[in-house]
Amino acid sequence: MPDFEAAAYQPSGTAAAAVPRRRRRWGRAEWLQAMLLLLLLLGMTVLVALPLASLFRQAFLTPEGEFAGLSYFRAYLESPALLQSLGNTVFISFMTTVIAVPLAFLLAYALTRTDIRGKSVYKAMALLPLFAPTMMHGIGLVYLFGNQGAISTGLFGWLPFELRIPLYGKVGIIMAEVIYTFPQAFLILSAALAISDYRLYEASETLGAGKLRQLLTVTLPSVKYGLISAIIVCATLSFTDFGAPKVVGGPYNVLATDMFKQVIGQQNMALGAVVSIVLSLPAVAAFIIDRIASRKQQAYVTSRSTPYAVRPGRLRNALAHSYASLIALAMLLLLGAVVMASLVKAWPYNLTLTLAKYEFADAAAGGLTPFWNSVRMAAWTALAGTFITFAAAYMIENIRILRAIRQASYFLAIVPLALPGLAIGLAYIFFFNDPANPLHALYGTMAVLVLANVAHFYSVPFMTATTSLKMMDKEFAHVSASLNVSWPRFFVRIALPLSLPAILEMLVYFFVNAMVTVSAVIFLYGADLKLASVAIVGMDDAGDTAKAAAMSVLIVAANLLARLAYEAVSALLRKRTSGWRSR
């Protein structure tokens, strides 16, 4: 299809130039649209572009405002300790990817290409880590494999042998990161495996290909882009994660913990900015690769593809069951250990049950306040984030004027995908803590936390909204226009109801991620606005691991509740709107 919009602005030949070109004059609707687009661009600039600019200013300018060039970067490269961290981080990221992607691929394969029962249960178990802050994976590992861990002590001495691993350090970090990245890779690979074209399998079979050849010539090529995506996500998430290394890293330094020390410990903002830029580099590179890969993928599956048909296979199903159960068991064990630790008097010496750890009485922060702060922040993030992302996606998809502004807004919308939370957090400090900034008043308030979260998690819901809007028939808006119906009414009556499933998904995504995040908010929270995830870091630092566990459990519980509410509302919605879909 030709790009109509582009064509309208192209200079035409001399013959056409002689006649004044016709351009429809802007009516009220166009002026309104133009205003909204400008507002959107302004919003995205404040949310993403200006904070990033402040971050770069810190890294390239001296405090006096002179250009420092790469001198801060040179200082960084000349520090052996920091270089060691860089090497460590690359190692962690590599090992995590090498372990997590095959594990996730196997599970995705077991759940998409067999007809075993209980798939939804297995899937739910595999996704459990998404609902917890990454510190919790570390804490769970400590309770299982730490010095007093249930497994390392041979079930507290019930077993005749001990099972000790050198947890604190790289082993622990890698294990925690694998748990953290596993569900992400699993989701991507499941989606990729689910859309393979069955006709290709039939064709290869009629041509006499064996199972192995089918795997190599059909399955792997068809999930190639999914695999690339999964690898990139695992590598960047584990490269930039802060929570797990903080808890189980011990003396093993990674970039994220380094940066934390530079900023919080030594108040060395310039070096912090440099590290956060270094931290973003692989993500930016990966992001570009991913964009190119996903662009190519669109041509791979056509509307005439047929879904994969599972054939009976008892041995295969038995293997799939065993593997999926194993994963589910591991996830449950981890969560179980944390829940258990939060409910007993003194792990592992006194295992009587108590709710004392949930009172947070002698914890530095006041009781449950951090938890409720987090819930409030997550709720606001969900509401504001969903509203902003959906409105932005809608405007970018449906308004046909001012193409340049739409493209700029689109670009700013996908940039956060490449930014680690720590970089966003630091950028927000630089931007909002600047007394010259008229928005300085927001610094240290709930608003700035919500904004940082919206910016941090902007891209995925934006894509969800865009995909949902793209699925709508392009002619809907035209029909509406030809019937002389205003576009706000079209939005309320048609676009919004049709996008409701996507909107619910966006709400729960923002909520859950805002609950678990620590990286973006750890620099930003105000003195009287402590958050649950930050409290976990603090309590764990202070040696209050059981209380940190209790707080983690609360976060998981809140997230599971939010998710259940989402499922319930979705089910209700599906029931109410079943008339639209079924014949």
């Binding site: 030709p2 790009d3 109509f4 582009a6 064509a7 309208a8 192209q10 035409s12 056409a16 006649v19 070109r21 016709r22 351009r23 429809r24 004059r25 009516g27 609707a29 028939d473 002619e475 809907f476 035209h478 029909v479 509406s480 226009a481 030809s482 019937l483 002389n484 119906v485 009414r489 009556r493 048609i494 109801p497 049709l498 709107t577 008339g579 639209w580 879909r581 079924s582 014949r583």
Partner: protein, 347 residues
Amino acid sequence: MESLTLEGIHKRFGAFEALKDVALTIPKGKFTCLLGPSGCGKTTMLRIIAGLEQPDRGAVRLGGRDLTPLPPAKRNFGIVFQSYALFPNLTAGANIAYGLKGKLPRAQIKAKVREMLDLVGLPDIQDRYPAQLSGGQQQRVALARAVALSPEVLLLDEPLSALDAKVRVHLREQLCLLQERLGITTVMVTHDQEEALTMADHVVVMDQGRIAQTGTPEDIYERPRTPFVADFIGAINFIPDGGAAGGVQAVRPEQIKPLGPLEAPETGCAVLAGTVAHAEFRGAYYRVSLLPEHASADAAPVLVDVPAQLARRLNLTRSAPLRLQLPPGESLRYPAEALDAQRRRSS
């Protein structure tokens, strides 16, 4: 209601010229078909009429009014899209009422929806969602929605192409009856020449961004002005007439009479002899391609329709001999260059 005129419409998409200075008058109250192969510019033309696309040059007028700067909403045209674009979250009734809200009092809207549903012959489906309707029903609801506002012009973008062959034939008739009853100026885009011939009062054949010919269906079929039109509308044979001018004679298959083995041709009629290359069974008749004797190697076979009974008698297997009687008198003739140009394009 007044006739719709297009003046010097020019439209390009990048390097591609979709419409090249097209001028056209669409008679009021009539059913006009824009017909042509894909990429000929017919859909672009419809979208320009609708206001969904702006021409680079030229004007769209309704009577004396210049519509060109008006957005679709201000034109009061009804549009039915190829995909129907029925809102899936609204019932059939609500879809029809969608454009009426706020323009009529509630009670009148209700009555209007009923009236429209009766008009398209679907009185009982008011509360059903589009997904619960068949393709043909969806199409008629889309039509009802488009005419509910009593538009001055009704625009149809390939409205029947997504339907089964049987339903399509049925709906053709319904659509024509409806148009006649409402007396509304209607423009339909189609690539199906049969659809255009059966439905339209007025056919506009388009080719490569230009209008190739306009006229009644009979005009277009019987007196196509160029080899392109002749070839696009129905099947036709181009037979070199052997004259010094090097022209070609254009003959439709049904104008050619197959001769029995001993049958003599009528006086004044030329005879063409050859061998059967292929015979395609079409139910009541066979469409036979015949390789003429003494024809050059690259000559196209001649198509002729042979009634099934006769075909069986003649035993038309491959390479069987067959003689044809060409129609007498003046038939269509084109200069050879025109045909060559046409051949170069279609190959």
